[in-house]
């Protein structure tokens, strides 16, 4: 079977601050890594290939240095990879990103299955997978907990729902976003690193797309706008109460009521 895994390079740490004076985002260092949730998607693909055979391709979108995560996927066992990259994609929100990747996916052949991590650690939205599925015109299932059975034309999975766990069968082609812990991701292999060091990474730019309309990409294709960013309000007020126990308990009950816990 042919599987495509979507991966993303994210900052190595979520420790970012807003400079209170200038309003500029401060990032500590430029460390980056593969989005941890994507490792589970990649491992799921590897496990499925062990059982069914086939090819695993990976796709990522980002600046040229995002090639690193494709190299890492090669070290884990992916067969082919492509990076969707273009300055014209700058400033893309969820919608523009999803559309961009879906256009990139169309340049990579046919797939039975597309796998995504449940979310990224930098955007945290969990929205790109489902939006891509919409643009590719295929069904999706989010929060997949288990792969139960792979059939010729479908896959049976277990998914997490608000109050229930459901088992469902979904026909190919489809997109699944997998939960953390579906499988334990393997470590990158040094032998594979050597073996794949010259393996090509395909670069896909706007010119390669079927839809070259610049209005649909980057900032221009993004319906949402960030008006401002600001540090969260932190509750740093501290007070100490003393008195007899009647006073203290009634003061506490009043406060709990005021804060709507009672």
């Amino acid at each position: 079977m042919d599987i495509l895994v979507c991966i993303k390079q994210v900052p190595g740490t979520s420790k970012v601050e807003v400079d209170p004076v200038t309003g500029v985002l401060k990032r500590d260092g430029v460390d980056s890594k593969m989005n941890p949730y994507d490792l589970y998607a990649l491992e799921t693909a590897l496990k499925m290939r062990e059982q069914q055979g086939g090819v695993i391709k990976v796709i990522s979108m980002g600046p040229p240095q995002a090639n690193d995560v494709i190299r890492e996927a090669y070290m884990m066992g992916a067969d082919e990879g492509a990076l969707v990259t273009d300055r014209k994609f700058a400033g893309a929100d969820v919608l523009a990103t999803s559309y961009t990747i879906s256009q990139g996916v169309r340049q990579m052949g046919k797939f039975d299955l597309i796998l995504c991590g449940k979310q990224t650690t930098d955007g945290d939205t969990a929205q790109v997978g489902p939006e891509m599925a919409e643009y590719l015109g295929i069904p999706h299932i989010a929060n997949v907990l288990k792969i139960i059975e792979i059939k010729a034309n479908s896959v049976i999975i277990e998914m997490d729902m608000p109050n229930t766990i459901e088992v469902a069968e979904v026909k190919f082609p489809c997109l699944l976003t997998v939960e953390k812990d579906i499988f334990q991701p393997r470590l990158p292999s040094y032998r594979k690193k050597i073996a794949t060091k010259d393996r090509e990474i395909k670069m896909i730019t706007l010119n390669d797309f079927e839809d070259k309309d610049e209005k649909k990409y980057g900032l221009n294709g993004s319906p949402t706008q960030v008006e401002r960013i600001f540090p969260p309000s932190v509750n740093n007020d501290r007070e100490t109460w003393t008195g007899n126990s009647e006073q203290l308990s009634s003061k506490m009950a009043t406060k709990l009521k005021e804060l709507k816990f009672v």
């Binding site: 601050e17 500029v24 985002l25 401060k26 980002g62 040229p64 240095q65 273009d86 300055r87 994609f89 700058a90 400033g91 929100d93 969820v94 919608l95 945290d124 939205t125 969990a126 929205q127 790109v128 489902p130 939006e131 599925a133 919409e134 069904p139 999706h140 299932i141 989010a142 998914m159 109050n163 229930t164 459901e166 088992v167 469902a168 069968e169 979904v170 489809c174 980057g218 900032l219 221009n220 319906p223 949402t224 960030v226 008006e227 960013i229 600001f230 540090p231 969260p232 007020d237 501290r238 100490t240 109460w241 126990s245 203290l248 308990s249 506490m252 009950a253 406060k255 709990l256 009672v262």
Partner: protein, 396 residues
């Protein structure tokens, strides 16, 4: 809408470094005597605002403005499993009413499922003007294609300005699908929502792991979509008299097909996990005997809280190891934590100091727990807690 351009003639040896460094994403490069912006650019425009004057410029491009007056009302997606309405729905109705009041909009619900017509009545007790019901056998289980089709039908018929969806596993799967279909914006996990006079929905959400808040708008597309987690907004009080009406909607059978078949549905076992708890009563070494846990249990019951504790209590077997807070236990971030008779060693506080509200009762006024508590109460828990239980009962 627009693009960044670089006035290369204003680039010189003295400002190249400054310019390259001002970008927090490393997207500005100096290559072969030219400044280039690479695909890492997030269009934050910091280089325009804070970089060397006049070098980077943001040029607005003309866009066709949509007619916002064609989109009216606020829609709430009714999150449910087999007709059992998820309480996040009422919370969203409450917020939708507040937002609607600003611009004089109606509040709609869209309820998609099977055998749900009578369940829709309940929503009319919370101040909804109209509930649109899509009731078909094919909609019994949540399957993405027919659910999106029904939601799409609602949007096309009603043309709501904003849509609020609970950030449950269903909502987080459905809302993006709908947003992509209408090529509109969607903001996940909003914690604050406000309405502008021009019907733009101001959406505020934590970003970068909660270190930053981002204020987001969707100024030129409709509908505007936001998801909100459970227990962020406040549900309105249930009114005894229902108001508003129920409209049963038709959907073409061809839109009800799906490539997904749900084979088995199992109710989740509810396992208490202190990491998810919103209210926690934590007890420490000052607890004298196991039977005193009854008093703690009573207080926890009144506040709908989970009980947790420090390591000594786990070691004495009074609480389960899964209920231990701290470096060797779990990390918790509830909305409220009440620490009873806990001295406040770093071991413990590291696992709870980012809680929203921290109350601590301790008889030692120098206890280090008071350094992290927002409300430090100097006194004996054995005297205060029983009275507190009475006071809360009276207050209810």
């Amino acid at each position: 809408m627009g693009k960044l351009i670089c006035n290369q003639d204003k680039v010189n040896q003295s400002n190249i470094d400054e310019l390259v460094k001002v970008c927090p994403f490393g997207a500005i490069e100096y290559k072969e005597g030219k400044i280039e912006v690479n695909a890492g650019c997030k269009m934050c425009k910091i280089c325009v605002k804070k970089g060397p004057a006049g070098v980077m410029e943001f040029v607005e491009t003309e866009t066709v403005k949509i007619d916002k007056s064609l989109w009216k009302g606020i829609g709430v997606y009714v999150d449910h499993v087999e007709g059992e309405i998820h309480p996040v729905t009422m919370e969203l109705i409450g917020k939708a009413r507040e937002l609607a009041a600003v611009v004089n909009f109606q509040v709609y619900c869209v309820f998609i499922g099977h055998n749900i017509k009578d369940k829709a009545e309940e929503l009319l007790h919370y101040g909804v003007d109209e509930v649109h019901v899509y009731d078909y056998e094919e909609l019994k289980d949540f399957r993405i294609e027919p659910y999106t089709a029904a939601f799409e039908d609602f949007v096309n018929k009603v043309k709501p300005s904003s849509l609020l969806v609970g950030a449950t596993t269903v909502g987080r799967s459905l809302a993006p699908r709908l947003a992509a279909r209408f090529r509109t914006g969607l903001t996940a996990d909003c914690t604050i929502l406000e309405m502008k006079e021009n019907t733009d929905l101001v959406q505020i959400r934590p970003a970068f792991g909660g270190n930053i808040m981002a204020q987001i708008i969707c100024p030129n597309t409709r509908p505007q979509l936001a998801t909100v987690r459970y227990k962020i907004m406040n549900a309105p009080e249930r009114q005894s008299e229902p108001k508003g009406k129920i409209t049963v909607c038709e959907l073409d059978k061809s839109k009800l097909t799906s490539n997904i078949e749900v084979l088995e549905v199992t109710k989740k076992e509810v396992e208490e996990n202190i990491s998810d708890a919103e209210v926690i009563i934590a007890v420490g070494r000052a607890l004298k005997s196991e039977k005193d846990m009854a008093m703690i249990g009573e207080l926890a019951g009144l506040l709908d809280a989970q009980i947790a504790g420090t390591r000594p209590l786990v070691e004495s077997g009074w609480i389960d190891a899964k209920k231990q807070i701290g470096l060797s236990g779990r990390t918790v971030k509830p909305k409220l934590i009440i620490a009873l008779g806990i001295s406040g060693a770093v071991q413990f506080t590291a696992g709870m100091n980012s809680s929203d509200r921290i109350f601590a009762i301790n008889s030692d006024e120098n206890a280090s727990i008071f350094n992290v508590a927002h409300y430090g109460i100097v006194g004996d828990m054995y005297e205060i807690v029983p009275k507190l239980i009475e006071d809360i009962k009276n207050a209810k």
